[in-house]
Subunit: 255 residues, 2 copies
């Protein structure tokens, strides 16, 4: 497989960087090809703006339509096009970041804000007008996996833990971003208590990561429901006979 | 009250900007003072880096400890100190943004990444060693309210809607950021179907916003549980006799 590894940590000598290097070695050993987007090293600009779409600074900017027009006419900025080209090349994306405020660092959030423009990430319709998203999209067929380090200890970020469960915290990314665009999200790989890891802890974390990367091609994705296969009604609400009476985010998993 | 209005939209002639202007007028009419952080206009840098902490580019960066040290010695970068000063001044924070990929635009996520340094936003302990967070923190006493525009229609982002419920999508911000640092989050104000709003729709959205701002000082916050008042056990897991058998994010609301 072709793997795009997106790395979002400011320090090249961090636990995160050491894990990344272990991960890339594991990919090589499994015969995969990889490319790396090291966002800090690239000085990636995460802020959507006029320059993205070849617009003058004073021009009125409607982000969705401007992004679609620039995408379709090849006028997106070169840094965005370069990432889109890597994304097109990749069969799988690994997204590695330290959890900051229960989400991605801004530099990584802005990768999605800028790269997944209208016409590529959203605003896509079939010939009959059906909106293609949540399972069906231009990125269908690709896989995505989060690798994250978290300061919290394991119990506190599990079900009923004070920080909320990891699946719920990552729902906007797994479901609202990956799955929305068609990318099948794999279960995340999280290193807990990451700021208190000793050598043995790092070795275990690296082992776990290598194990997970060995099954990058075969692991079962998180089984989110498809928007267009009958589970949601015409108001895009889950049918009453599915996960009846529940309103938690896991209702969006196929039963 | 003193209100800090943080605005994160690239276009000064947008629906969002018009709503902001309506909102600021409403604050004035209610006798509040306000200051605005217009992140795009300020060219706010959302990327945590060496410069934040007065560190040399080549120096090894441990974000948490570097941020705490710079905070405590007054060596944080001037742009971060200016935002911290506004935050200290404010009794309430209004956070206005278009929802992008089910979260904040990167420029706004990076406001939290950079401003809420260790020693101010996290890593705070009482004299007896108790970690102060989730209700108790340096920002306790302040209120926070999200004002957001969303392309999706109302049914699709409610409970059982295909996009997930708004409270769940905003949990990392409401609970994991606001409440974590002590800020009491008010229910969010969301303008749905925002990219298809006609004049009457805008007038209704502006009316709704003015109504919500009139009760900024008195509205009941989202009743998240306190970490340190007995609801969580020593592993930071919710006690078994509270919201028994449930694992949805609403278990973290006081019953």
């Amino acid at each position: 497989m072709n793997v795009l590894w997106i790395f979002a940590h400011p320090e090249g000598r961090s636990l995160n960087a050491a894990l990344r290097d272990e991960g890339l070695r594991a990919l090589e050993e499994s015969g995969h090809s990889y490319r790396v987007s090291d966002l800090y090293a690239m000085k990636w600009n995460p802020v959507v703006g006029h320059d993205d779409f070849d617009r003058e600074p004073g021009e009125r900017l409607l982000v969705a339509s401007a992004s679609q027009e620039a995408y379709e006419t090849g006028r997106l900025s070169a840094d965005i096009r370069a990432e889109q080209e890597k994304l097109a090349w990749a069969d799988a994306i690994v997204l590695q970041f330290p959890m900051w405020w229960y989400g991605m660092p801004a530099i990584l959030k802005g990768w999605f804000d800028r790269v997944l423009v209208k016409g590529l990430g959203y605003g896509i319709a079939a010939e009959d007008g059906t909106v293609l998203r949540y399972g069906d999209g231009k990125l269908t067929g690709k896989r995505g996996m989060v690798v994250t380090t978290i300061g919290a200890r394991e119990s506190s970020i599990g079900p009923r833990g004070v920080h909320g469960g990891l699946d719920d915290l990552l729902f906007p990314l797994h479901h609202g971003t990956f799955w929305y665009t068609g990318i099948a999200p794999l279960p995340p790989y999280a290193v807990l208590s990451a700021d208190r890891l000793d050598d043995a802890g790092f070795a275990a974390a690296a082992d776990g990561l290598r194990d997970r990367l060995r099954t990058l091609e075969t692991a079962e994705p998180i089984p989110f429901r498809y928007q267009n296969r009958g589970d949601y009604d015409e108001n895009l609400v889950l049918r009453g006979d599915l996960a009846t009476g529940r309103t938690d985010l896991a209702v969006h998993l196929r039963g």
